[in-house]
């Protein structure tokens, strides 16, 4: 039975983090170098954690499957990063960012964690500016801001349409400094394949060198997973091709609780699918909704006409109509569902009728093409490269796509999973975004966890360990057992010798997930998915074809292992979605909606995080962590 003590400090919410920082035990500066820490993942959360812990003096090893830590998928975030600086003098505060995030998450996140996130948000901007992140500036040299969905203040800091890239390159620079000075040992092109648990404590990992194929054990006093989200369970998503659930799912199988796996975010503004060859979907930043207006034709008769032929009064600017106070900047879950609604109504545009217009004509008329180019030029170019259409002349066509996963490994206030010594940061954990994440908050959370939280909370754990006695020998039985099970699984994958490619299974799973556990879910659809996924998994293990060897660079083998995990994890998602008989944020159960089609929460029954425990050979067990709202009153979310 897993323990779900959230370890939330006592006292008023605005004093909890200060209290925790004083109460958490410290490791003496001279002793820090005696503690080994493994960080898996080199994105904003993992890279920042590795760099920061090395700055403090810990002995750090960092792993990533990419060829360089600079490639982590944080790099693809476009629009910006939130912080409660109130530089715009427009009424922002830590409390307002806290409030917006709790409300934006549809009251399914922990208040204490969210408040801490809002508090450290201001430090993040200072830190990034000092490290040379080239944020956008006003002519006077101060920092510029813009607005994002779900907020009525301008608190988003940005670096053109490449904010994630610039923040990640800042993290990479800090990490590189530690690598150069020998404080971090970096393992690129190395994939964690299992976590090693000994006497109830995480003591290291088993990883595969993706170039040589060598399986190797790595021992440490603590293991930090910062391995991102699981959106690729849908095959088509805005995630990078390599993004996967393997690290967190395998940790889950070793005893880490998995919280709210059904909470996935569908981003409203992505380039629509263009054919069955499609390998990924590309996001068009939410920041575009600052100036772009979303519409579809009012009547089906106008479908098929060129947008310029449809008069203004024949257009339905449905977000402005339905949500007048937030308009085009309504939160992501709401904007996505609204787009689906229009297309389901037969008023979608483009091939297959799965698209809506994002139109810049009014903004170009108002501000001039140059201003729009300066703000979004790279995004417009990207759109044109992919679609062959010029968005300065014709409106963009967009459609929702899977983008982010709010669920993740359950962690306590100290970001420790239900396995002592195993910590989880960034998108990989479940803690801060509830059932829906607001735009520009993923970057904030990754950096908060990595730069300003784990440095305190990890020390508290390590202070309770003996540096010598509590380092488990990587050549001992605890590791060799895991090594052999990892090798057996790889051999099994290579030995099936079936006919179907790994990708064909992944596509089929993705389609099942999208149709049955996507933007709208029902009892029927979820039960159907739970019928067909185990069959597909069985077929995978009898008919997949993985060519090449294991002692060599083998991309098919890498993919096969990840898809095998998705085939189990997808089932867990559907189970979670089936039990949660309510609609909240990105989780929309068609049985639970208001008369005008909005999500209908059930706070009586579901005001909790659902935490799944893996049980070998049997059904997973669902535990709950009740959520208590003392500062933000539970209310129906309204953006009208």
């Amino acid at each position: 039975m897993i323990s779900l003590d959230s370890r939330i400090p006592s006292g008023p919410v605005e004093q909890k983090w200060s209290k925790a920082k004083f109460d958490l035990k410290l490791v003496n500066p001279a002793n820090k170098r005696k503690y080994k820490v493994i960080v898996v993942g080199s994105g904003l959360a993992g890279g920042a954690a590795a760099a920061t812990l090395a700055e403090l003096g810990y002995d750090v090893a960092c792993f990533c499957f990419q060829d360089s830590p600079r490639r982590a998928h944080s790099i693809a975030a476009q629009g910006g990063i939130n912080a409660a600086k109130n530089y715009q003098n427009d009424g922002d505060s830590i409390h307002r960012l806290f409030y917006d995030t709790v409300k934006g998450g549809d009251f399914r996140a922990r208040e204490a964690n969210v408040h801490r996130l809002a508090e450290v948000s201001v430090d993040i901007i200072d830190q990034c500016a000092a490290m040379g992140v080239p944020f956008a500036r006003e002519y006077g040299g101060t920092l510029a801001n813009r607005s994002f969905g779900g907020a009525q203040v301008s608190r988003t800091f940005y670096a053109r349409g490449q904010t994630g890239q610039q923040l990640l390159l800042g993290v990479y620079a800090a990490l590189s400094r530690q690598i150069g000075s020998g404080k971090v040992k970096m393992f690129p092109r190395t994939e964690m394949l299992d976590v090693v648990v000994d006497n109830g404590r995480a003591v290291g990992i088993v990883a595969r060198d993706l170039v040589t194929g060598e399986i190797k054990s790595h021992s440490a006093h603590a293991v930090i997973l910062a391995t991102g989200g699981y959106g690729n369970v849908f095959y088509l998503s805005t995630n990078a091709k390599g993004c996967n659930v393997t690290a967190t799912y395998r940790a889950h199988k070793k005893g880490a609780g998995f919280a709210n796996p059904c909470f996935t975010q569908i981003h409203p503004t992505c380039i629509p699918v263009s054919g069955d060859f499609q390998s990924k979907l590309t996001l068009m930043s939410e920041s575009l909704r600052n100036d772009g207006r979303v519409w579809v034709p009012k009547t089906k008769a106008d479908i098929g006409k060129r947008p310029s032929e449809i008069a203004a009064d024949s257009r339905d600017y449905y977000l402005e109509r339905k949500y007048p106070s937030f308009g085009n900047l309504s939160p992501r879950d709401i904007a996505s569902r609204a787009a689906k609604e229009q297309c389901d109504d037969g008023r979608g545009v483009g091939p297959g009728g799965r698209g809506v217009y994002l139109d810049f004509a009014d903004a170009i008329k108002r501000d001039g093409e140059n201003t729009i180019r300066e703000k979004y030029g790279n995004l417009f170019e990207m759109y044109e490269r992919i679609t062959g259409e010029n968005p300065y002349r014709v409106p963009m066509r967009i459609y929702p796509a899977v983008h982010y996963t709010m669920g993740g490994l359950w962690v306590d206030y100290n970001l420790q999973s239900s396995i002592p010594g195993l910590f989880c940061l960034g998108e990989a954990n479940f803690s801060d975004h509830g059932a829906n994440r607001l735009g520009a908050s993923a970057l904030m959370q990754g950096l908060a966890d990595g730069y300003f939280i784990i440095n305190y909370t990890l020390g508290n754990y390590l202070a309770g360990l003996n540096a010598q006695k509590d380092l488990v020998d990587a050549k001992g039985a605890a590791f060799s057992d895991v090594e052999s099970s990892v090798k057996t699984k790889l051999d099994k994958l290579l030995g099936i010798g079936g006919k179907r490619s790994v990708d064909s299974f992944h596509k089929e799973l993705g389609n099942i997930m999208w149709e049955n556990c996507g933007m709208a879910r029902s009892k029927d659809s979820l039960e159907h998915a739970l019928q067909v996924i185990p069959k597909l998994r069985e077929q995978f293990w009898s008919d997949v074809s993985v060519l090449g060897g294991k002692d060599t660079f083998n991309q098919s083998l890498e993919k096969a292992g990840r898809v095998a995990d998705f085939l189990e994890f997808g089932e867990l998602m559907c189970k979670d979605a089936l039990v949660r008989e309510e609609s909240c944020g990105g989780h929309f159960r068609v049985e639970h909606q208001t008369p005008d089609g909005e999500a209908k929460r059930d706070d009586e029954k579901f005001c909790h995080a659902a935490v799944w425990e893996y049980v070998e050979g049997s059904e997973p067990v669902r535990h709950v962590e009740p959520l208590v709202f003392e500062n933000v009153k539970l209310a129906t979310r309204s953006y009208k």
Binding site: I75, M131, S176
Partner: protein, 262 residues
Amino acid sequence: MSDLLDLTLHVWRQPNPKTPGKLVTYKVQGVSTHASFLEMLDILNEQLNAKGEEPVAFDHDCREGICGTCSLMINGRPHGGQRATTTCQLHMRVFRNNDEIWIEPWRAAAFPVIKDLCVDRTAFDRVIAAGGFITANAGSAPDANDVLVPKESADRAMDAAACIGCGACVAACPNGSAMLFVAAKLAHLHHLPQGQSEKEHRTKSMVGVMDAAGFGNCSNHYECEAACPKQIPRDVMALTNRDYAKAAFIHRDRETKSDGAG
């Protein structure tokens, strides 16, 4: 509307760094013009897999032109030669039916081939680790608006910071020089006030590691600028040459002096 292409591909196959590679010819048929170049390779790999042949290894990840993982010399040009476009963003609508396409890995001494089309670019990471950063431990920063950065400087820093570290500049250069990559990072940091205090050491250190990593010298062909998918301007290299000359005069290697405290 979508048209379908039949193509002849000549793809570099090399099982490992020690075995010599060769170009192997494949046919792919019915490729949509809306597909990306990498999706066309996915189609090829599905075909190969179905025939029991090992798929072609190629590096890729984000497929939206920002992570810098994808590479490929396509018909002799890095990323295929379309202006400001990475291979993953190159779409098949720029090709014609019955085209022949030659696909090779980056060719540079400092980027050894790992397998097929994948190369080892860790030399870039070593260059950055030598000085491509501003020393600012987490927690030590002043308020972000305490240091004003003129918009012009921030914009020029951003122009240079847009580099994705893909290595096209090295692959395009007849000398295999990494000058554009190194100068882009130096220019990013040196356009900002925060980057000034370590300027000389940074310049010497990064250029030193670049030379030691086996990259060639820059002889001003500017092929790098033409190939760069992020259009890093060549004037960053002029800035670096100036900074390097200055650093050579005024910078002496760091000595650690104890302040005798305690």
